[in-house]
């Protein structure tokens, strides 16, 4: 099969085109500028619409409009831009509209810097905008996986009528790797709820306002049931070297990829260590992680932030295992040696 050498931005763009995306609106922000640049050329070639919006707020609302009329639509940005999109994401959730949003996470808070970070974990998994809602969040660790998850995201988003976030970072955005393409989607799901003009049917409306007492509460419960279904069916994770492991690293995205190398370093030294990698950050693989943690002695959480996913690890730590955190905020990227050195500090005296 043919392989293509692409940056993460380009791979995400191709994935969306292959998944039948017909609309992109975005606004320039480093480190994902290649995304709108690439889409501005590729999407019109594929019969789609590219718009460089006047703001991130406008971009997400253009995506809202595209989704309202039943098209697959995408926006991409990086942290400060994703903050601006939160209002729109809340409305997409309230109105139950599908859309895919890619965040090439950079350092924050505020304007931060333009280097890779995982500092938007809370924002991605805890809502970000107002209201009682959830967004499905995928965290790829390679350019290929970014492609695969973006391609999948459109189906999942349509299936549940809920926005899907891809939480990658500046490294995955700009790094080139060779990837394989999937087959182009030809038959997309029918959307009877879409606004296309009411010819031959009763008028449709899309809304998130429910003023009649009790109606919003019912809407919230209905959303809750949908989120429960997603939690039951859409969890993704991977485990490496966990079969005989006594110590466990939990890490996602780029940091998991670096940690994977650390596991190999430590394994060479005879340490029985494994890696657990959540791929869906929401729904978080709580049950699966709890089971794997059941046979461990110590847990190491490695993130490119000051400790955010660690809260989810703590939730399932019923056995009260010691959890050690190593994080690099503000664009700091740990090396695999750095992580393995840190872990070794806490393995001193442990039996091989």
């Amino acid at each position: 099969m043919k392989k293509y050498l692409l940056t993460g931005c380009e791979a995400g763009a191709e994935a969306s085109i292959h998944a039948g995306c017909k609309f992109y609106a975005g606004y320039p922000i480093t480190p994902q500028n290649r995304f709108p640049e690439y889409m501005s050329k590729r999407l019109p070639e594929e019969g789609g619409v590219f718009i460089q919006a006047e703001s991130e707020i406008s971009a997400i609302n253009m995506v809202f409009g595209a989704s309202v009329c039943g098209f697959r639509a995408l926006t991409s940005s990086s942290s400060p831009g994703i903050s601006l999109k939160q209002e729109g994401i809340s409305y997409l959730c309230g109105c139950e509209l599908p859309a895919v949003i890619i965040n090439m996470n950079r350092g924050g808070p505020g304007l931060g810097d333009v280097t890779p970070s995982q500092s938007d974990y809370f924002q991605a998994t805890r809502g970000g905008g107002h209201g009682d809602y959830r967004t499905i969040v995928y965290a790829p660790w390679t350019v290929q996986e970014l492609y695969d998850l973006t391609y999948l995201a459109f189906d999942i988003s349509d299936k549940y009528r809920n926005p899907v976030l891809i939480l990658a970072d500046g490294i995955i955005a700009q790094m080139m790797e060779s990837i394989k393409f999937k087959r182009r989607k030809k038959r997309l799901p029918e959307k009877k709820w879409a606004l296309t003009g009411c010819k031959g049917r009763e008028p449709n409306s899309i809304k998130s306002l429910f003023l009649t007492p009790g109606v919003l509460e019912r809407h919230n419960w209905r959303l809750y049931k949908k989120y429960q279904k997603i939690e039951a069916k859409e969890v993704k994770y991977e485990e490496y070297f966990c079969q005989d492991a006594e110590f466990l690293i939990v890490s996602f995205g780029t940091c998991a990829r670096i940690s994977y190398e650390s596991v190999k370093i430590l394994r060479k030294k005879g340490k029985k260590i494994g890696l657990f990698r959540p791929i869906t950050l929401w729904p978080f693989p709580y049950k699966q992680l709890e089971k794997t943690m059941g046979k461990m002695k110590k847990i190491f959480v490695i993130e490119m932030n000051l400790g955010q996913m660690i809260d989810d690890v703590k939730i399932v730590n019923r056995k009260n295992l010691p959890i050690y955190f190593y994080g690099r905020p503000g664009g700091g990227v740990p090396t695999s040696e750095e992580i393995s050195r840190f872990i070794q500090l806490y393995l001193v005296g442990e039996r091989r």
């Binding site: 017909k22 609309f23 609106a25 619409v49 718009i51 919006a53 006047e54 703001s55 707020i57 406008s58 971009a59 609302n61 253009m62 995506v63 809202f64 409009g65 595209a66 989704s67 309202v68 009329c69 098209f71 639509a73 209002e87 729109g88 409305y91 109105c95 606004l195 296309t196 003009g197 009411c198 010819k199 031959g200 008028p203 449709n204 409306s205 899309i206 809304k207 998130s208 306002l209």
Partner: protein, 247 residues
């Protein structure tokens, strides 16, 4: 018996939620009549604002979506670009269009989006019960300007038609009022023109309508119509502000 006057097909048989003397009902009806006359009901998609008219989908008998506050022109852009043969319009109040959504309306206009914008200017935030709007007149009392709008403190009202007339992407701009039968008839023909422009792919058209809000103006319906005529129309002068089609 011959029926000579009836509810437009483009309006649902729904009990109004607007206050007594409010202008929205008249404007809804005019839009309904125009859409019926142009025979575009089955291909029209409306974008409702945040504000009193958010419930527009309860009254219009065609596809309508809600949008976040001020973002209607961006939502309409997404819809119209993907469905260019459908008729897409936004219905926005002054807070929605001229305050929180200033960026969206200016850039939709600058891109020359082929959409129709119905801009209802009643100089006050209606749904939140009467705070100062971007179009509140100097001296006008609101719940956040209880001594009256002081331009030294609160700045000047925004004249949307005058502002947008400077933008190359705009095709048609007209300001009308609904303070008399005559001006209502004039408003209807302006709305019709704005929809016709879209049908003919002419580009961005906006109709600003000076509309009464008696409850928040603390006036009777008749007093508020006089206020439009005697005060509001002097500051926001009705007329055609741009017509790229000539005439």
């Amino acid at each position: 018996m011959e029926v000579i006057y009836k509810k437009p097909e483009s309006l649902k048989d729904e009990v109004t939620t607007y206050c007594p003397g409010c202008g929205h009902g008249i404007i809804h009806r005019l839009i309904g009549e125009v859409i019926d006359e142009l025979e575009i009901r089955e291909k029209t998609i409306g974008v409702a604002p945040v504000g009193c008219a958010v419930l527009a989908y309860n009254f219009f008998n065609f596809d309508v979506t809600e949008s976040a506050h001020g973002r209607a022109p961006a939502v309409a852009t997404g819809i119209k670009r993907l469905l260019p043969d459908r008729i897409v319009f936004t219905y926005q109040g002054d807070g929605d269009l001229a305050a929180i959504g200033t960026g969206e309306i200016i850039h939709a206009a600058a891109r020359g989006e082929n959409i129709t914008v119905i801009f209802v200017n009643n100089a006050v935030y209606g749904m939140t019960k009467g705070q100062m709007a971007p179009t509140t007149l100097p001296g006008m009392k609101t719940t956040t300007t209880i001594e009256g709008r002081n331009i030294k403190i609160h700045g000047y009202p925004l004249k949307v038609c005058e502002l947008l007339s400077q933008i190359d992407g705009v095709f048609y701009l007209e300001r009308t009022a609904i303070d008399s039968v005559q001006s209502i008839i004039k408003t209807k023909s302006a709305i019709k023109k704005a929809f016709q422009n879209q049908i003919e792919n002419k580009g961005f058209s906006l109709i600003e309508i000076l509309s009464p809000c008696p409850v928040n103006w603390k006036m009777t319906p008749v007093q508020s119509l006089n206020y439009i005529k005697e005060v509001m129309s002097k500051y926001f002068v009705p007329g055609v502000y741009k017509n790229k089609g000539g005439e």
